[in-house]
Assembly symmetry: C2
DNA sequence: TAGATTGTTAATCGATTAACAATC
DNA sequence: TAGATTGTTAATCGATTAACAATC
């Protein structure tokens, strides 16, 4: 069965809510609904896609549910990540504490700027982009973050795909095509701001 | 009529596609579909929410459509933006070229770290967070970007709202509640990676 | 047992797609 | 005029919500 991608996003939200919940042993879908602003019905439905984690009449055991959600989301173990582009944004991502906290470790960083290559940031030595394929293949890394300028995005993403990368988080304002079997998630920061200006224009009018 | 927010996201996609289209005078929904991977039917529908921009039998005049989309999205004029948090991520956003290119100008930046306050980055002097309300009220800025640590997010966002900010792009991994009339868009970077690991886990299995 | 809450099915709602009359 | 393509309505599809039997 095809599970809606909005369900997956919500599973992350549920998981975050449970993390900030230290004391309780059980939580009902209604209580979780109060925290997350998703409907209780929807929470039960989303969870039911993956199994039966609750006890009728009682609710969901918090610790068990946390563990199950970690498994479902794939964060029950750490992931190695490659970063391409060590400019302002790339360097900020390299330093981002939130990744390590969730088990995401940036293991390799690449750039094409000779002034950056060889420098060490956050304990990671910036490598020549030309070594991309070799390093990724030998380290068997499956996911990459792209923080290169727009004009370089297409080529970089092609190279990542041909190096065996299966999942890409792309911050370049471009929407390159990738073969099926490769997941590309685009975050275009200007586009996000545009959604806000669309809204602003309306409330102001 | 309530227009689906996915339509707005697509309007941004169409607009970007048109920008990269220098030569043509007219474009059909089918041609735009080829560029954007949205269906022709959907493109016509999305545009029809806002007016009649095409000519039956011919297609859409590219320049006119660009101008209309700019108006709809609210990017026909520049917007001033406030940035809160001048750490790694905040500084990267301050330096981000893509914003200026789309007419978004970060006019003020704030932090609570005395080592950062007073420093100038990208021509912007970092100000004390305590001056937030005063500066925002007097400059009549409507939108803000939040790049503070998780534990500070709630308070900062409350302060932005009470200063009159109507639209917030939040990078802190938190989902604070805001009153209706204020638009909050959360970008949680770890959550985005989780969507990728969910996918990776499935293709690998 | 009585009360509470899950898991699941059916009903509703909304968004996408298909079809086609209008028209350039 | 004939061909092409829009704008719009109707049909389909999928996701959310409501309801309730099962069960702790």
């Amino acid at each position: 069965m095809q599970i809606p991608s909005s369900s997956i996003t919500r599973l992350s939200i549920y998981y975050r809510a449970l993390l900030s919940l230290k004391d309780a042993a059980l939580i009902s879908s209604q209580e979780l609904s109060d925290f997350t602003e998703c409907s209780a019905s929807q929470i039960r439905k989303d969870l039911a896609y993956f199994g039966q984690f609750g006890r009728p009449g009682c609710g969901y055991p918090v610790e068990d549910l946390k563990r199950e959600l970690k498994k479902i989301l794939g964060v029950d173990k750490d992931w190695d990540v490659a970063l391409v582009g060590a400019g302002n944004l790339g360097s900020a991502l390299l330093a981002y504490k939130g990744f390590k906290g969730q088990g995401f470790n940036i293991k390799h960083a690449f750039d094409n700027d000779t002034r950056k290559i060889g420098k060490v940031k956050q304990g990671i030595r910036i490598r020549d982009i030309e070594d991309l394929k070799k390093v990724i293949k030998s380290s068997k890394i499956g996911m990459a973050i792209v923080a290169v300028p727009q004009e370089a995005a297409r080529e970089i993403i092609d190279r990542l795909v041909s190096s065996g990368i299966k999942a890409i988080l792309n911050f370049a304002p471009a929407r390159p095509k990738v073969p099926t079997g490769v997941e590309l998630l685009n975050i275009d920061l200007s586009m996000e701001l545009e959604r806000l200006t669309y809204f602003l224009k309306r409330v102001r009018a």
